[in-house]
Every structure is written in structure tokens, then in C-alpha cells.
Amino acid sequence: MKNRSSWYRYVLQIFFFVFIGMLAVNHVLSESNVTLFPFLPNVSLHAVCPFGGVESIIGLITAGTLVPKLQLSTLVISALVLILTLIFGSVFCSFVCPLGTIQEWVGKLGKKIFKRRYNTFVPQKLHNILKYLRYVVLILTIMLTFNAGRLIFADVDPYYAMYHFFTDEVTIGSLVVLGVVLIGSLFIERPWCKYACPYGAVLGLVSKISIFKIKRKTSACNNCTLCDRNCPMNIEISKKKTINDSLCIKCMDCVEDDVCSKDSMIYTAKKVNLNEGSIEAETEV
């Protein structure tokens, strides 16, 4: 059961999904001297893609340069997302990323079709292996981008394909990947985020040292494992005291959605005694 608090996340997701879409349409139409949204700037999505800073990392370190198509604004956005991640964890994935959003929307259809079987098709053991794939994608992307000197990931990037599918700028490869991701979302929640997203891999690692973390009061928990079953990222929450898994996208589903009848999940910056449940004395914002 979702409560009102979920809507804050949904509203932000819709806002960024539409906003980035409008930027993309504006930029594409500018080639024909048409401006559909005059109140928005004419910028390429490459110029505001936070992953650009990561893709260019070797060139930035060795020569102080960005790959063509990326701009200084790319670095600014990368830095801002990094700051957010250091404070809150991977909230970019759950509140902002349009690709994550569309996977969630398709996933809602999957939930209606498969009901309780949804997001259980990948065995936990296989999931625990597959989740490292995104690090392989990350390393390959950085190395190949450096070698090629161009945005090589754009050839398979479902995010770019999603906003430019109507242009001749997208490759068949990226459209195929987008299709596979969307179809996969009918069976698995956020398959791209879990198994392939190189930017999620970076943010997941950074979020391990974030200030705010989700914690489980073991004194209040009755090990019903409802939190495990509701976690979109298949994290075994009931086996942890602090949810420091790099897959955690801080969607807050386990904390705020009335999943836990014992209120044993909290999202806090404080060090708390999880065994004695001393949370109650804290001030809630």
C-alpha cells in the first residue's frame, strides 16, 4: 500500500521525465529553426548528462579534456549529482533518472500481470552474480571512450534512444537495448539499473559513504521479510542492520510505504543503537 509520501517521488520523477523530454525536443527542432518551448534553453542532452563526466574521466585526468559533444555543463551536473549522492545516497536513480522512471511505469504493468511473481524471476543467487555486470559495463565504457575519443556508449545508450527515437541520431543498437530494457521491466523491476547501468554503478559506490543511510531496528523487527519482498532492487534488507548495498536507490519504499508494520526501518544520518531502538527520541523532519 503506497501512502501520500510516495507521490513526492512520483511528482519529481514525472517532472524530470517531462523536463528532459522538452529539452530534447527543443534541441532536435532547433535544427529546423523551430522552437517549441521558448522558455527553455536549447541544449543537447549530452551537455546536461551527468554520466558524461564519468565517461571522460581518463581524458580529464590525463589531458584535461572532455570527449567531443560534452561540455563544461556536463561536469557541473556530474558534480551536483555527486554532492546529492554523498548526502542522501543514490537518490538520483529513484527521484530523477528518466530511464529508471519509465522502467518503473512499465513495471507497474508487469505487477498487474504477474502480481506476486513479479520481480522474482531471477533467482537470488543469479541476481547476486549479475549485479556485478554493471561494473563491467562501467569499466568497458570508460576504456572504450578513451580509446575511441568519442561517446562510444551512445551507440547502445537506451537513455539517449528514449528521447531521440524519432530522429536519425540514434543507432539501431541503442533502440534494441531500450526495447530489451522495457520488455525486461515487465518481468523484473528496473533491470537496467540492477544489471547494466554504468552510472548507477558509480553512484552505488559513492552512496556507500553517504551521510544518510537506511537502517533497520532489529529490536523492533519481527523478521517478516516484507521489506525484502517489496524492495525493487532485490536487496535482502531483513538480513542487514544498515542498508549499505550499492544497489539501494533510496526509493524509501521500505521506510515510508507502510510496508513495515513495526516501523523498524529508518533513514537517518545518526549513529543509532539498532538493537535497543533508541530512534524514538529523535526529531523527525
Binding site: L12, E31, V43, H46, V48, A63, P68, M252, Y267
Partner: protein, 133 residues
């Protein structure tokens, strides 16, 4: 202190749009570029660089090496340049409006206030993008 989604949502908007506003005021928010040309002399890269005057923006964030063989010439049209593999957004960056596919690239570049000689080098680099870095 426990955080809720509302606080996170507001913080995200504040950090992203506040950060962009601050970076704009500091002159760091550059969404288009002018590119630096490093002329190749022999096996080494010449230290001196020439910045192409873009007229409206000076991010200077890319390095493009000059090569002996060029593909874009004074008579190349927009459609030919696109066929050569030069990305559309790069062409727009240097030529402005490219809706007329038969227009001469050189004319558009000059009309855009840029040096054709230097810009041609940059455009040709996109054809041989493997030699970047």
C-alpha cells in the same frame, strides 16, 4: 534526524537548480563550445593552440588534432558533410541553420562569424575521430 521523501525531493530540486544557477553566475555553465586546435608538427603536439572564435561561447573543452588529409573542402555541402559522418549537432554548432542540405558548409561557417580554415580542421577530425587524444 530522520528524513522523509518530501525533504529529499525539495533538496534534489534545490541542489540541481541552485547549483546550475550558481555555476551560471560563476561562468561555469557552458552548454556549447569552441574547440582548441593543437597543430601536429612531426610526431609531437605543438604546445601553442588557436582557439576558434565562436562568438557566443568559449568553453574550450575539446582537443582536436590537425591532419594532413582533409575531407571537408570549400565546396562541401551540408548533405555531403553529413554523409561523411560529421554529427549533425556539431555541424549546427559551427554552421548554425543546416535545414538547407544543399547549402555550402564554408558559406555557413563564414556567415556564422567563424574561420573556415580552423573550423574545417575540426570538422574533419570528426571523420577521423579515432585519433583523438
Amino acid at each position: 534526524m530522520k528524513l522523509k521523501r518530501l525533504i529529499i525531493a525539495v533538496s534534489i530540486l534545490a541542489v540541481i537548480f541552485g547549483g546550475i544557477a550558481i555555476s551560471k553566475s560563476l561562468g561555469w555553465w557552458k552548454t556549447t563550445s569552441s574547440r582548441k586546435i593543437f597543430e601536429t608538427s612531426g610526431s609531437g603536439r605543438n604546445e601553442s593552440s588557436h582557439e576558434v572564435e565562436a562568438g557566443h561561447d568559449t568553453a574550450g573543452d575539446g582537443i582536436v588534432e590537425e591532419h594532413a588529409s582533409t575531407e571537408v573542402s570549400g565546396s562541401t555541402t551540408v548533405s555531403q558533410a553529413l554523409e561523411l559522418g560529421i554529427p549533425k549537432d556539431i555541424l549546427i554548432e559551427f554552421c548554425g541553420d543546416i535545414s538547407n542540405k544543399d547549402a555550402i558548409v564554408k558559406d555557413l561557417i563564414i556567415a556564422n562569424g567563424l574561420s573556415f580554415g580552423k573550423t574545417k580542421t575540426i570538422l574533419n577530425e570528426y571523420i577521423d575521430s579515432d585519433s583523438l587524444y
